[in-house]
């Protein structure tokens, strides 16, 4: 049966869906959805076809939205999505992750929730915030938020989360107990000799290599990293890249040695592509070497940024790659990054990009 690709876009003013057939040459846009709430992360569950959206509204607070008909209709819930009375209330949902029949949500202030009824009700995964280091957790530039959720596939108990500016934490028991896993990641903002602390790193994005649950990649405020042992030790893979700064990272759907990054020129330098020339950078040897992919991307006066959840791949062959800018443009490649086209523009600031491939 023919396949259809849905690019799920979260923006500061609602969710959008940009859709194509498997050729990925002609695209149509639908939206805005979710009552134009700010949607930090819109993600599809490939197993069920359900689309989930995490966000938070300035008036009505945080919730997770859900569509079971590919975006035609939406409902929302935040039942149980709350800390105890008296604690700082949850401001917004930063990320959603359907995995192994459970739906996870990362929130600000940083914490993790789970739903075992497809987003109808929520339970706090309290072990994370019970960690004795919590008094030392410091907010990053976008607040103290939990933005990356990586769950071992095939029913595994292991979970990794990324929190800014706390670092990576890992649970080997489904979320009951946690430990920081930041060894080898740098904090350039500490004095010499103190740049590799146990926590306090500004992780921007963590992803897992397909078929290799012990291999993780990380884009950090201070460098790009790979771990081959589930985050126990990280090693820098930034040699060959034009900067050590960026936000998103996206894995290939099948090749664990491939990774896509979008380096920006630096945190105090404007946070746009180096020299105003847009490029996605690809490795096919797990970070040993990199190539810039520029064909079809603007090569002058590109002063946009790309946020941490705003790049994704699809599951087709060859893999599609997508990214959205904070200036509301959405770019797509149907050939693993070799060539690009802009498939939407004039959207609100794009906060997240994910894909869902369904039978057409």
């Amino acid at each position: 049966m023919a396949e259809k690709v849905l690019v799920l876009v979260g923006t500061t003013r609602g969710a959008f869906i940009v859709e194509s057939d498997g050729d990925r040459r002609s695209w149509a846009l639908r939206g805005p959805f979710c009552e134009v709430w700010p949607m930090n992360h819109v993600k599809g569950d490939a197993a069920s076809g359900t689309i989930y959206g995490g966000g938070g509204d300035q008036w009505f607070g945080p919730a997770v939205w859900k569509s079971t008909d590919l975006g035609e209709t939406w409902t929302h819930s935040s039942e149980g999505l709350a800390y105890a009375e008296g604690e700082e209330p949850i401001k917004t949902v930063w990320s959603v992750a359907p995995a192994n029949g459970t739906l996870y949500a990362g929130v600000q202030p940083a914490g993790l929730f789970r739903s075992d009824d497809n987003g109808a009700t929520w339970q706090h995964v309290s072990g994370l915030r019970d960690h004795p280091t919590r008094p030392d957790w410091q907010p990053g530039g976008a607040g103290l938020n939990l933005h990356s959720i990586v769950v071992e596939p095939s029913g595994g108990e292991r979970i990794w989360v990324g929190m800014s500016a706390v670092g990576v934490f890992h649970s080997a028991d489904g979320g009951k107990t946690w430990e920081p896993r930041n060894r080898g990641t740098r904090n350039d903002y500490m004095p010499e000799g103190q740049q590799y602390p146990e926590l306090g790193q500004c992780v921007h994005c963590v992803v897992m290599a397909p078929g290799m649950p012990d291999r993780l990649y990380q884009q950090n405020h201070c460098g790009m990293y790979r771990s081959d042992d589930g985050g126990l030790q990280w090693q820098s893979i930034e040699n060959g890249l034009p900067s050590s700064f960026g936000f998103p990272a996206a894995t290939h759907p099948r090749d664990p040695d491939a990774l896509f990054l979008l380096p920006l020129n630096g945190d105090t330098a404007g946070r746009y592509p180096p020299d105003g020339k847009a490029a996605v950078w690809r490795t096919r040897d797990c970070g040993e070497s990199w190539e810039a992919l520029r064909e079809g991307l603007p090569q002058e006066n590109a002063f946009f940024g790309v946020l941490r959840q705003a790049m994704a791949t699809d599951s087709l062959e060859p893999a599609g790659v997508y990214f959205g800018t904070n200036t509301g443009s959405l770019f797509a490649s149907a050939d693993e990054g070799d060539g690009w086209q802009r498939i939407a523009e004039h959207l609100p600031m794009i906060l997240s990009v994910e894909t869902l491939v369904v039978d057409g």
């Binding site: 009552e35 008036w59 009505f60 919730a63 819930s77 039942e79 105890a84 009375e85």
Partner: protein
């Protein structure tokens, strides 16, 4: 609404952006309550989840939601006289 409940009946006006979030919700509703918190609980009975949209986990009325009782800004504990008019407004922000 029972006779005694009718004696405590109040009228609540909801903002359009809230009504849009709940299929079947209407912009004006009569219900029975003796304070604002009870009125919001009654709204939640009719449209499950509405309390979360109006009240945070502190618990208090969300910062950018303004509740007026007979024209005066109110909180969750504000008492309601029989026949009181509650108007819920989204705050002007941005």
């Amino acid at each position: 609404m029972t006779d005694s409940a009718e004696g405590r009946a109040v009228e609540v006006e909801l903002p359009p952006a809230l009504v849009r979030l709940f299929p079947g919700a209407v912009p004006k509703v009569r219900l029975s309550a003796t304070n604002v918190g009870e009125a919001i609980d009654a709204l939640n009975q009719r449209w499950p989840g509405m309390r979360d949209r109006l009240v945070d986990s502190t618990p208090r009325i969300r910062r950018n939601i303004h509740v007026f009782v007979d024209g005066e800004r109110a909180g969750l504990d504000t008492p309601l006289a029989p026949g009181a008019q509650i108007i819920i407004k989204t705050a002007m922000i941005g």
